[in-house]
Assembly symmetry: C2
Homo-oligomer: 312 residues x 2
Amino acid sequence: MDTEAVRTFVLAAEVGQFQHAADELGVTQQAISKRIAALERELEVRLFTRTARGVELTIDGQAFLPHARSIVAGVERAITAVRPDSRALRIDVLGFRSGQAVVLHDYWRSHPETALDVVTLKAADPHVAVAAIRAGDVDASFRTVTDPAALPRDLDMVHVIDFPLELLVGPRHPLASARTLTPSQLRRHRIWVPGIAPKSEWADFYDQLATAFDLRVDGAGPNFGVEALLDTLAESADVATLVGSRDRLVWPTSYDLRRIPVVNPTIAYPQSLILPRSNPHPGLRAIIDYFRSLATLPETAWLPSWATPRRR
Amino acid sequence: MDTEAVRTFVLAAEVGQFQHAADELGVTQQAISKRIAALERELEVRLFTRTARGVELTIDGQAFLPHARSIVAGVERAITAVRPDSRALRIDVLGFRSGQAVVLHDYWRSHPETALDVVTLKAADPHVAVAAIRAGDVDASFRTVTDPAALPRDLDMVHVIDFPLELLVGPRHPLASARTLTPSQLRRHRIWVPGIAPKSEWADFYDQLATAFDLRVDGAGPNFGVEALLDTLAESADVATLVGSRDRLVWPTSYDLRRIPVVNPTIAYPQSLILPRSNPHPGLRAIIDYFRSLATLPETAWLPSWATPRRR
DNA sequence: GCCGGCCACAACGATCGGTTGGGCGTCCTT
DNA sequence: AAGGACGCCCAACCGATCGTTGTGGCCGGC
């Protein structure tokens, strides 16, 4: 189906004449006639009844019209999503299931008029995101550079939210039936966080965490994907992992995995947004405010050294 | 833009390989390559990065993907809306601003998953609707045949709701400042209801109404459209009209028209739905129930002779 | 260093989408 | 009732497009 034909159909339905639509589009009436005929042939349905003074929608045409409008609107949105000059707000997240993306989705659902595109740069290195922002490929990125001096002067990094961590364990794990846990209870249990790149933001976070609470955090081993990790957890009696409270993890219900909040102190992972210092996309303000309006941490929460905590 | 290309893009993005997508679609890899290239040329943006083991979405490609899915879904819905065998529930209303359509829209908003197409047969004669239902062109019609014997045996007519009438007047009309009105207060005022076809359901209604309350209901004159009617009302100091409480009338706010409920007794216009007696569309049941669940009339309401009133 | 897998480019035929030209039916005017 | 205006369709033609087959380049694995 040619979307030009669909657009032509909508226009012809609105003006009620092929001739008028043809003038509007700067083509001949015969071209309109053929476009509609092609559409009718494809749908195997008559869309217009031809009269001496123009055309009129058939029942099928009436039923088709709103869907046609929706297609045209969809094409319109799709084009503006990639047109460099009229690009929608485009934000980089770590992954579509990350807490960042989940909260961003919540924001969009409460502000559905926002033209928002969520993308993910498949690179652990925050410099990739920094370069993408400076190049104008994305408007902002939910990443953190732990050393503020490493951030170029034309970019800004704002702290937007902290996600409390929860322990994720299978049913055979000794801590499986706990309602909540303190960090000291995690001592001597193996915490497996695969796929952490050395010297990355996450490596640093878990290093600090392990030191602070004398934990066994094992970041070694390749990341075979979240499914493989969940598989392992479900079976294992001694492996657990940490996930953000807002992370979306989908697993078969047969897995019977449990998420157990860590408290006293709460362990939180700070989330920042990197954006241009000058002329940031105007839609970012509301998104930052939305993130910051969400529940904040207790005074006692533990945060890594680089965090600039937001507390009430 | 060709929707086949869009569908191809979505598939290629999902499988990550042109070759695989080509196998899936039963064409050569080169065809896929050209489709994507054409899309990229049209959008003036690179959608994939080509690698040795397949393709990967660019940032722009990621931004484009959800919109592409929405286009594909829109095309899907558009096709099912007209495919005779898989047709969505299709209901005929008197007009898109009628109370019928308004309530139907309310229903759809609370059940957005319903595949519903609203059409209007531009004919005053209910036999047109009857024929359309019998032919399968529509599933049901919000029309009334006042003589039940005139309804073919294979069709059923169910009473679904009554719409109380309100007086619509301009600011200079002597009744303009009333909060409510009784029918007897309308006596001697001219009530203008243009565009009523002789011997139609509406002619009969207003005949009975005029007789019952000794009113001056003027149904003469051609209908120049609702705008012309509103124009006249806004200016006039002695012309008023009756509208259903659920009818949607949009007018410039400068008009300052008022809708005044008629009470003691309420005057109600009964609404029926004509549908096939055997194998009606399964979605109709919920719609009928929805209409019937809405506020019913007081015991004292006036209804035309053919009505089968629904009262608590 | 070779092989295998995947994508791009080139050439060719079929199809498609546009134009011009001509004809028919309806409505309005004279 | 005849003529003109208008809007539609059909036919013929032409350039662009979409598919095919054939070929070459690039990259990763053995």
